[in-house]
Symmetry: C2
Subunit: 447 residues, 2 copies
């Protein structure tokens, strides 16, 4: 009999685990169980669907359940909620969300890839209509429907990955946008100098950015949000997008007695195995390790999810595969500004006890005499003694953010700022400067 | 008395050495001697001046001698040829090219940064009018003057860095261009799969590319070139650009008894010192070390030159600075195609005795649903046993070539294809794909 594998959650990690396992071991009988109506979509593409740059939600979907079955031999059941794991019997208790019927499915091995859930802040009014979070494709559809009713003013609560992208997407549809950030700067994944560039990009396109401005309540009439109350007063808003953080979806695992890690996500070894036999976890519900600190972290990135999923898929297929961990390398687009970050910020590094320093330089992304030459800002974070690179951030135009990969590989290779200062970066006037901005930053760090 | 430093050659290496030394040690009395009319210009920018994208040669010049003296306190004498080094007396014999007067200059320390010279092939007709090489700013001016006389057809002999860029630049001015390459493919700095993309970019814009087609002679009338004779017959051309290789300019060093290395360039230690006391060499006239093979190489890249110059400048100023060597990382633009390369090609690796393999993948540079998503091709070269990365090449649109820096840093960090497969590359739909093309290539290499 074919070994039966059930996968709970059909996005980055679950899809990748299923696809990789099936490709390596075509005998496996794999079924994905997904609570929403869609599998295998790019949640990162939702802001561009909302803004209209991407025409249809179908563009964001790599596989429908039909195509997945036909082309990959993997079954997927959407709108199917897994209500309990019965680990002793290797069985799942499920409920069809359409018929409300319950049923049970047996497994030989199980993969939990339940992802994260957005946190709803503990303030009045979050239950009002036209108050959104974005963590599923359906959220994009509801936002688009709301936008068709031509809201006059939108409020974005929180300036994280999703808040920033959605603020830009909403502004591009012509809505007036106010961004509320309780911290000193938006986007705590970068240091202040880079955050300031982001804030400049937002305000430069007409977004009101309110820093150190926690939201106290949402007010509405007839069940629909009308305004946002903050420390500075009240701001009208008939559309509110909330991005105050996310938490790993771990209820199912916890109720089955699977151990969580100190980050709050499901504890797994490097092969993705939980502490219960035959049960793996991958993606944002599963804990991973930070490659600089070696400490457990809860990563919210799709890249981490896909990489963890790939490792679990290989282990399901009988290979011995390990996921080394994450640098939290990430890219963000805010209008024409592209931002990349990897490793630790200076703030994080100091908090973790490193004798860390940082240096920030403003340079150019290509030869100054080239017509589309533009500014690029680089921040390097490094240990002040040995000079080991701990993190880096880049903000610039066009594809500047993707240059962060160089820094990620330098950190992975345990290079120092001295190594970076001597690195052999590529140069041609249309694409680069003779001295790369990362290298200029390394030179200054060495002074 | 202030220490007197003379620098022979006022471009990438010489300018960087002088500038770095002066910044660190403002007491130094530094004079640059330059045979041409210009110092401190971007020779890599000449194709874009020829094509008209860059408006004036002045855009390509970072410092005039006047500004260099005023702003940096460094003297520069253009149109001054150094005819001999008298190392026993620490003296140079010079000649003014304007007055033809000779004079002597004393030095305490000397930097040779004489660069390279283009090779003229041993065929008939190279002395005809409208036959060009490009290694100096003046070459760009002469080319522009020739283009104003509206040539009907241009021939480019040799498909190296300069040949490719000039072929594209000439085509963009409306001239019909034929490129003659004696090898199987253009641009031997990359492997065949990448060279094919370059050839596609050339022919796609109307350039006739003749491979395995050595040029036998140039024919002319009234002293001006009219046609190119090759193995396939005769092709009309009233403008010929030759790029069949370059050689280090070492005559001055050789005549002074300074040792050359096996690459033919001036032998220096990692600090840039020649075998004669007080004499340094930097830039393309000086040998460097390949970071993968650890063998001496003659690099023709401006980046190597600038980095060697920086190291020499630091040593002149009393620091102890060493140049580790080069990966020959380079970028090339051919119309809308950007190409990056680093480390060894498969051909080079096999020639050097590595048990090398390569893998080539076609992927995309950003999410497929993004309007400007385009193809990108990646070739990885690696050792088949340990999987150590030896080289990489990228060809794609926009800024794809600059991604080669990641591979350069991976090679510098001595990472393997397994490390690359697990690397934490950044992702966002407008800039990248969930799995980076370099990573996809690493995955395939691991199969």
């Amino acid at each position: 009999m074919r070994e039966r594998i059930l996968v709970v959650g059909g996005n980055a990690a679950g899809m990748t685990a299923a696809g990789r396992a099936k490709r390596l071991q075509p005998d496996l009988d794999i079924t994905i169980l997904e609570a929403s109506s869609f599998i295998s979509y790019s949640i990162c593409g939702v802001p561009y669907w909302v803004s209209g740059l991407v025409g249809s939600h179908q563009d964001l979907i790599a596989y429908t359940p039909q195509r997945l079955a036909q082309e990959r031999g993997i079954q997927a059941r959407c709108r199917t909620r897994v209500e309990a794991i019965l680990p002793g019997r290797r069985r799942l208790a499920c409920r069809s969300m359409d018929s409300d019927e319950t049923f049970q499915l047996d497994y030989d091995r199980l993969v939990l890839s339940t992802g994260y859930r957005p946190v709803r802040p503990r303030i009045e009014g979050c239950e009002l209509g036209n108050v959104f979070t974005v963590s599923r494709l359906e959220d994009g559809r509801r936002l688009r429907e709301c936008l068709q009713r031509r809201p006059a003013a939108a409020a974005v609560v929180g300036g994280g990955y999703i808040g920033l992208m959605m603020a830009a997407a909403l502004a591009e549809t012509g809505v007036r946008v106010t961004l509320f950030e309780k911290g000193r700067h938006v986007f705590s994944a970068v240091d202040d100098e880079i955050a300031e560039r982001i804030e400049g990009a937002l305000t430069g396109r007409g977004i009101a950015v309110k820093l150190r401005c926690p939201v106290r309540a949402l007010h509405g009439t007839d069940g629909m949000v009308r305004s946002v109350a903050c420390s500075e007063g009240t701001v009208a808003a008939d559309l509110v997008l909330i991005d105050v953080g996310v938490l790993p979806r771990t209820e199912l695992a916890q109720e089955a007695g699977i151990a969580l890690g100190i980050s709050g996500a499901i504890s797994v070894d490097r092969r993705g195995q939980t502490d219960l036999p035959g049960i793996y976890a991958a993606g944002n519900c599963a804990e991973t390790v930070h490659l600089v600190t070696n400490e457990p972290v809860f990563s919210t990135l799709g890249t981490s999810a896909a990489r963890q999923g790939r490792v679990v898929g290989e282990n399901l297929a009988g290979l011995r595969s390990e996921y080394p961990g994450t640098l939290e390398t990430a890219l963000e687009k805010v209008f024409d500004l592209s931002v990349g970050r990897t490793g630790l910020t200076l703030r994080q590094a100091l908090l973790k006890g490193y004798a860390a320093k940082s240096v920030t330089v403003d340079a150019r992304d290509r030869a100054a005499y080239f017509p589309d030459s533009g500014p690029v800002r680089v921040t390097l974070v490094y240990e002040s003694g040995a000079g080991r690179l701990l993190g880096a951030q880049i903000a610039g135009g066009a594809d500047a953010a993707k240059r962060i990969d160089s820094a990620a590989l330098a950190i992975q290779g345990r290079l120092t700022v001295r190594d970076l200062a001597q690195a052999d970066f590529g140069y041609a006037p249309p694409f680069a400067t003779l001295w790369d901005p990362l290298q200029i930053a390394a030179h200054i760090a060495l002074r």
